[in-house]
Amino acid sequence: QQQVKQSPQSLIVQKGGISIINCAYENTAFDYFPWYQQFPGKGPALLIAIRPDVSEKKEGRFTISFNKSAKQFSLHIMDSQPGDSATYFCAASIPGYGNKLVFGAGTILRVKS
């Protein structure tokens, strides 16, 4: 019940295309859903986040879509660029535990130029 399932494991997208990464969860107590971006040799960094009372959040080329009833959320990267090539992690947080995050397994994104 604490898991967050992420797919696909890897993704190759042409420059200018749309990258879509999906996540699903079971625990309805989760109240915060961030996405982290990680470049090789670096620590993960917060990219964008959403709370379950919002169905969509957009920041630049990055959009989170959230479906509370289906317990699913996804990251869309519009106009994907080679610089977006990285590993992306979805996560979920339980209230009352600060930022105790449960992470998905990660998606390795490669944007071909």
Partner: protein, 113 residues
Amino acid sequence: DAGITQSPRYKITETGRQVTLMCHQTWSHSYMFWYRQDLGHGLRLIYYSAAADITDKGEVPDGYVVSRSKTENFPLTLESATRSQTSVYFCASSERRRDYRAFFGPGTRLTVL
């Protein structure tokens, strides 16, 4: 410089040895965390701390010990290293507020021979 640092960045040790990974943050964040990153598993929480002298187990605590005598430091000790503890270890910190943004350190790559 402000931020979160980890040391060492790389460590090779032998089975059965004790190893301590250091984490230091300059923001005075209340919460600190240790995650391990393994391919196919994403990031898994080992231990976390809500404040100095307050620590609790995460998802995979076996074989690890933590302490937090000062707010800014959160060392992780492997009491008797095993090959299964070969991994990349990330320390993170966050503040006690509704924005659950966690800041990650650069990681320590640990190899247990």
